[in-house]
Amino acid sequence: MSIVAVKLVRKPKHTYIKEKKVGEGTYAVVYLGKQEGTKRDIAIKEIKTSAFKDGLDMSAIREMKFLQELKHVNIIELVDVFSTSDNLNLVLEFLPADLEMLIKDKAVIFTPADVKSWLLMTLRGVHHCHRNSILHRDLKPNNLLLAPDGQLKIADFGLARSPNAPLDELTSNVVTRWYRAPELLLGTRYYTGAVDIWSVGIIFAELMLRTPYLPGPSDAEQLDVTFRALGTATEDTWPGVSSLPGYNSLKIYPPPSRNELRNRFLAATEKALDLLIWLTTMDPSKRFDSSEALLSDYFTEMPRPTECSHLPKKSGQVDEALKRKREDEAQEEAKKKELQTAKRRKA
């Protein structure tokens, strides 16, 4: 069998140099490195195949399976896959920052055009997933990575799924709590790409607010937080909702008025609010799909989305610029003082 084993090891297309270990997850170790020759920055996810009792891990399988199929500027690129002894190596493009880092860094100012640009790129990525009938199921700012050129890339397909039939039963225990759509919170087993769209809506709100929009303190309370902010779903607004498993003993909150929403999102234009309302519509069958969202007027009204190369990038860079400025100022100050003391001495 030894000959066979040699034959089967898939050689990488390029040589990669691991430079430093940046993380160790449950099933993988992540290294930063370079592609030899092209000098391209890359990240290598090394998956230990022998470490698991049941063979290849499901998350690793999903990530590999879906990224192989999805080639899009707004989806993280799987540059290469190769095997070394009993390790599976996924070579991914290097993405130094994510949207969560930027949202949290209050030193970075977002203009409405920046928000529009990020939302547009997110929706383009989601649209590509959905037309390939792939649901991401874990969209959140932390999984929206930013390339050095400013492009936004959807990452982490460890929870993704491709439903085979429209009536394929799925688990409702997906998506990080704050970004989980109401149908999931209510425990539906049959859902669509609308769950991803909801997450995009909540991310849109977060980009405008600079703080999480529906931060439920626990899984149990997330539904209450959601309904309190957006109004309790009823049979009138969402036919069939009352037959979902989690729909019982709910507090009835009124939906927010247009003015209430205007006050919540002071910088938002009317078109921006329209889109937000569509993305966060309770009834998944009425909620916008990715094409409808991409065609919304918000994207065609002024201002134009910021060119991605002009978008705020890695938060650290801004800090450094500030630091340098302050250092320069301090030097100026010191120079002035020196001059003054010199003058005084002369005097």
């Binding site: 049941d54 499901m58 192989q68 080639k71 939906p255 309302i277 519509t281």
Partner: protein
């Protein structure tokens, strides 16, 4: 959401078809899939590939014989030429024979048709990269199904899986999992014709609004049966899932499907090629003009009614040709394969026949009977 944010009033929903820009078609998307890029061939290329794989397997056999010849005993008794490598057709037959075991095993674990189909696809793809003379199908079969079941999101622990697979251990089942994944070029997404067939099922009702539902359902069920059978043929390597689905429906009820195709594609028929207009003469379908298209036709962008019928026709001929080797044939091939992989066993077998007492015999006997009876897997 009863008051202001009722979107029906506030904003007019954008109709999905107003944009003038060119949209990527489902077919364009399919062309980006790994199934199309890595696992779709023209007929002649597929045949060539099988010959190449077979050459590698034959080399392996030659090497096995060379190794065995190092033993004096074998050297003395070996009749040159008595161990022949399998032919490409025999390889294909034995792979198909084993592949046909997957549905039963899958049924046992309550796997849906998608999982079973993926398992079969993995198994058959593996043998477009490796020869059965390198890896005996028995070593690969159940691992392919296990990997397929994980890939299709139907998790079973290896212990409970192994318990139900005769003569297996968790280790033996996982031994080649990584090698299989590598042979599959890490591409695990499989598009089967079931989904496409369901799409046609709905589309037919749109285009023939007064369709007889009993007849349509019958056609659909029969079509699904054809798909199940086609998993063991080369159609998946030669045609796209919608083509296969449509051909299966056609085989099930060609009158109905012909009516549907006329309505669906006949209306704005575009003559992109210089094919003689066949129009709707039913008998032409079974006519003789098929050589030009091959699966190349699958790569033509503008789909015309004529193209459609040509593809269906080719695909249908394969439907009737799905391999189903008999147990007797499979046993003969399996025996031959056993000696390719273990040339020294021919001797032991001889010795056994002459009744030489040898403790190794018992084991050899067990193994050879095992090899001869593929049914026991």
């Amino acid at each position: 959401m009863t008051k202001t944010p009722d979107p029906e009033i506030k904003v007019t929903k954008v109709p999905k078809t107003t944009s003038t820009s060119v949209r990527i078609s489902a077919d364009d998307l399919y062309r980006q899939s790994t199934q199309f890029r890595y696992w779709s061939y023209r007929k002649q290329d597929l045949d060539k590939l099988r010959v190449q794989i077979n050459d590698v397997g034959a080399e392996m056999t030659a090497q096995n014989i060379a190794n065995a010849l190092k033993s004096e005993e074998f050297k003395e008794q070996y009749v040159p030429g008595s161990i022949e490598p399998l032919t490409p057709d025999e390889e294909n037959a034995i792979v198909t024979f084993y592949a046909r075991k997957i549905p039963n095993t899958g049924q046992f674990f309550q796997m849906n048709s998608q999982i079973k189909a993926t398992g079969i696809a993995f198994f058959r793809r593996f043998y477009l990269v490796n020869s059965v003379m390198e890896f005996h199908p028995k070593l690969i079969l159940h691992t392919c199904l296990y990997l397929a079941s994980k890939s299709e999101n139907h998790f079973i622990s290896i212990n409970s899986y192994s318990k139900r697979i005769p003569k297996s251990t968790p280790e033996s089942l996982l031994r080649f999992e990584f090698d299989i994944t590598t042979a599959l070029q890490f591409s695990l997404m499989c598009h089967h014709p079931y989904k496409a067939m369901y799409g046609f099922y709905l589309d037919i009702q749109t285009y023939i609004s007064d369709v007889d539902h009993d007849r349509l359902n019958k056609c659909y069920d029969k079509g699904k049966g054809f798909i199940n059978e086609l998993l063991f043929s080369d159609t998946q390597f030669l045609f796209s899932p919608p083509h296969i689905a449509l051909s299966c429906l056609w085989e099930a009820d060609n009158e109905l499907i012909s009516r549907y195709l006329k309505r669906r594609f006949g209306g704005n028929e575009k003559k992109t090629k210089t094919t003689a207009p066949e129009n709707d003469k039913e008998d032409e379908v079974n006519g003789e003009k098929d050589e030009a298209a091959e699966s190349e036709a699958a790569k033509v962008r503008e789909v015309t009614f004529d193209d459609m019928r040509r593809i269906i026709k080719q695909c249908s001929t394969i439907i009737k040709r799905a391999l189903n080797p008999t147990i007797t044939d499979a046993r003969a091939i399996d025996k031959k394969l056993h000696y390719c992989m273990h040339p020294e066993k021919t001797l032991k077998r001889k010795r056994e026949d002459t009744g030489t007492p040898d403790p190794a015999n018992v084991k050899a006997k067990m193994e050879s009977t095992q090899a001869q009876d593929p049914n026991q897997v």
